[in-house]
Symmetry: C2
Subunit: 596 residues, 2 copies
């Protein structure tokens, strides 16, 4: 059934009967949904330009009457029954819609599943030779495949071979209809996201995310590296096992939902920063912990699932995408690919504000990347009331004569996530409660009662419920350092490219943070130049989208390889202008001058 | 120090200080030694044409005075002190000497070890890229290597890379002098032999053999296959584990003797029959247990040690040599290579009388192989007093008016090994105690007292010591069936090639059995045509020798690949003339007509 997606007009083929949320996801369009499709967060808004279906109870509760009148509904509540036209919210269309373009529907998968009649046994010719004759191709058959070749009875008329490129991954007796299936994996320092795809059609059939269980060994990359170097190899093995367990639990859940077996998954693509990929392989990360932060390897690597301890088909071909440098990893390569940064000639900025900040400036055919040690403030790690972007987290703040907080899922506030912290600081600046140096001062008037304590203990109370949520002076300092690192990196890249912020055509903001962030808050805190406020596009989990594109399309894989080679790396620490710009960027902008 | 080996005149470079037995072994010349070099068996005879050293006590005991006067000594007793000239016994020179030719001393190894200075880190270039620049080659780096790459300190001036072909197997900090090392493995149904080689010089530094622990699951191939198919995959895994344990124990012993670590062994070559190789990989052997006995694969296969569960360097490149058919395996390919059968244009016969009998006839450039289900009688398995060829086994028998038995190691007789059984039957035939139909009858005269019992229980007592050793009527029947299978196979191959036995130039008899067998006994029992009695050459462990040659020399590897493709396979069971010839071959020759 055809779904027309406005404003691009792309036609997507979907299966009726499910929700629009899952139907859109199946064609690679990811509408945000903090409550995981349970009708509680109100984020998954889509608009029916005509013939909007009747509003459900949750929709009248979560959407304004004006929105409902305009045709807005929730994608998780409405069921697909007939061909229709949909308008996607701007952030979804512009960024996440990009990742699918036409490629996934007209995909060119590496993995193929063919049912063929086996030629009759002539003499005692081997099974592999007979199969090669049937397929008309010479195959690579690793030990893991040979150990699992079936002893098909000679009267079995046909076999089904699953291949990835020229590698035989699985051979089954008889005709097998399903598959082949593949896994795209975004192995983040904090969060691991996994996507299960049917590879022939490039259809996503499930996705899951979980906290990286390595978090028990340190929140950021440097503490993981430090842990890995403790004692003998055993701490490295602990980190490796934690990553494997995280991924294997996601795989188990995805396979359970889809009622598939591990052996059906014949291919995987993994992205992540170099440290995460090194630890997954079990490699020494010592060189990533000290200047010049060199990885052991950085190009494309193809392994077998069994080599990585992943519970897929043991012979599944697992590609680890290439990195750009020791701190600009395969996740950035995948994100650039997903956002099409390599295809545009217009000056474009790509920012991934994860635990580490990675920034890429593309200008004509030249791309330069750098890594800013921003710390995890934008993930609210190390912040007094910080918490992940889960239900109950304050995600948006507005302050006028009183304080308005919204939380994910609409629950009672439990803490502050990255967007909430950024919003709060932006609003404190706008209201003069923070001065450009970042010092918190009681404002006078109605808001005075919100300020408590003194010095670094001084704090601004956002809510006073069962779990009081506040921003402390120390929290402000952490955000200030983080934004200074990122802003000065942006300035250095612009300077190197010889362009101004005004000349940038697009700013892709990757990561969950980017999807929820109000661009004006980023401008208010000075992370981005004012000129960019109207050019910010949320790229969502661009890394995961890129991994999926590579998994489903061999042309995207080639593009990723070329892209990684094209991006130059700029080492900020050794750049002459960086330190000066960093100091300059430490102050917040004077709010009277900010026009957003 | 130079050793000149007569009659070929080959010059071998050896290290003084050890015994001639080990010095000869180090250059690939294997002088038989049943007592493992302990001066007890008297087998390791070598001759000093001039300046023979004084005879030691064991030599005067084990060698005749005439032999000592002629310059014969025991290789295990005499110590190498100076350059000298040696004459090897004819069987050693002609067959085992062949396997080394000049190739191992002028070898062309796959494995290389290079110590190079690492180029200084430019920016954050990866270690693998810097290494590739230093080596001037692009390398394959599997997960097992990446997981073990060292975190060399930046002030380390050089690294040592061990490569096999274009595969990086190990990287160590600093300069490493030793190695690279490799393992050649002959994985027999009954016996597993392992050889440790230093690969740069092609020098053997140790060898070990042990019983295949799979024997607990059945003595012959078919019973192993039957066991593997019991229940679920677990019995296959048991067989796999038994093979792995056997090999890993040999590896541990060899490494211990040589004071090396597992990671130093970067390459291995494995030969064996297809069932053994399938079970080592963990593959399904069902198709090998039923007509048309097709293997799952039969060509050259390269794996990593970690894939096979072998305790070498996990990334060690392990080559499984190609097979010719489901029952003519990589061991035969290696044996043909070792005997140089592929290099001669003269009609040549190759026989491997292991648990199964494999026979290859080479005639001009054409080679045809077949497999004869001879059963394990020639290994004395299933024989009343049968035992392996270990100390105490009766290995040679002569009967005139009384019975003369020799045993391995000269110990008190404990049982009968394959050569002893064959000799005994040949002598019983010569003395008329067995008639051409194989029936045992009391001869009259002095030997009558040796015959006891009636019918199938009738037996001929060879010795009456603490462990009486005898040949029963049933034992004779088993040997009769085995030799009939082999002889009829030889006849079919000769007929197909259109030549007579008289035209054969050479008969290579592989295996431990072949090395000890008296050719005249083989002719007396009718296993070989009379014309061949003077053309039999013991090939020793030709399969192991071939595996070593492939391990040490990439040219031999190419030759093995070509050879496997050149050999055609003849299925005896479906050959029109086989059944008739089998029945004909059942009778023993009339001894009056045998001239040997």
């Amino acid at each position: 059934m055809a779904l027309r997606l406005l404003p691009e007009g792309r036609i997507a083929e979907i299966v009726p009967g499910g929700t629009f949320l899952s139907a859109l996801r199946s064609v690679g369009v990811h509408v945000p949904s903090a409550c995981a499709g349970n009708g509680r967060c109100g984020q998954c808004r889509i608009r029916f330009p005509e013939n909007a279906p009747p509003a459900m109870a949750e929709e009248t509760e979560l959407l304004s009457q004006a929105a409902i009148d305009a045709g807005w509904r929730l994608a998780c509540r409405q069921i697909v029954t007939e061909a229709t036209t949909l308008a996607l919210p701007e952030n979804v269309h512009a960024a996440q819609g990009k990742t699918v373009t036409g490629d996934i529907t007209t995909c060119c998968p590496w993995a193929k599943r063919r049912t063929v009649p086996l030629p009759p046994p002539a003499g005692d010719r081997s099974l592999v030779e007979r199969l090669e004759q049937a397929l008309g191709a010479r195959l690579h058959t690793p030990a893991a495949v040979l150990a699992r070749l079936p002893g098909c009875p000679e009267d079995e008329p046909q076999v089904t071979a699953s291949t990835v490129g020229r590698h035989l991954v699985q051979l089954e007796c008889g005709s097998v209809r399903e598959g082949p299936f593949g896994l795209a994996l975004d192995l983040g320092t904090s969060t691991v996201a996994a996507y299960l795809l049917e590879l022939e059609g490039g259809t996503e059939i499930g996705s899951r995310a979980a906290q990286n269980q390595q978090a028990a060994f340190g929140a950021d990359i440097l503490s993981r590296i430090a842990y890995a170097q403790q004692g003998s190899d055993s701490s490295r093995q602990e980190l490796r096992a934690a990553a494997q367990t995280t991924v294997n639990e996601l795989i188990e859940a995805l396979l359970g939902e889809a009622d598939l077996k591990a052996e059906h998954v014949v291919q995987a693509v993994v992205v992540g920063n170099p440290t995460m990929l090194h630890l997954l392989v079990g490699a020494n990360v010592a060189s990533l912990g000290q200047a010049p932060f060199a990885p052991l390897w950085q190009r494309w690597l193809t392994l077998k699932a069994v080599d990585l301890g992943l519970t897929l088909n043991p012979a599944a071909r697992v590609a680890l995408l290439p990195s750009i440098s020791g701190y600009v990893g395969a996740d950035v390569v995948a994100g650039l690919l997903a956002c099409g940064v390599h295809e545009t000639e217009r000056p474009t900025l790509y920012l991934d504000l994860g635990t580490n900040g990675e920034i890429v400036l593309a200008c004509s055919t030249h791309m330069v990347a750098c890594s800013a040690a921003a710390g995890p403030a934008f993930e609210a790690v190390g912040i007094s009331c910080g918490m992940p972007a889960l239900e109950g987290a304050v995600d948006h703040v507005e302050i006028d004569h009183e304080v308005h907080c919204s939380t994910i899922g609409g629950d009672e506030p439990r803490g502050l996530c990255g967007t909430g912290l950024t919003d709060a600081v932006a609003e404190l600046l706008r209201n003069g409660i923070l001065d450009p140096s970042g010092r918190m001062t009681p404002p006078g008037g109605e808001l005075t009662a919100h300020v408590e304590g003194e010095g670094n203990e001084r704090r601004f109370m956002l809510t006073r419920g069962r779990h009081p949520v506040y921003v402390s002076q120390a929290d402000v300092r952490k955000l200030q350092l983080a934004k200074a690192a990122l802003r000065s990196a942006v300035e250095v890249l612009l300077e190197e490219a010889g362009i101004t912020a005004q000349e940038l055509h697009n700013v892709h903001l990757a990561g969950a943070f980017g999807a929820q962030m109000k661009p004006e808050s980023l401008v208010r805190i000075g992370l981005l130049p004012e000129a960019l406020a109207d050019r910010v596009q949320a790229a969502g989990n661009a890394a995961g989208q890129g991994a999926k594109a590579v998994l489903a399309d061999v042309r995207q894989a080639r593009a990723a390889r070329r892209l990684a080679r094209r991006v130059a790396y700029l080492e900020l620490a050794s750049h002459s202008g960086f330190a000066r710009r960093y100091v300059q960027a430490m102050h917040f902008p004077k709010q009277q001058e900010v026009q957003v």
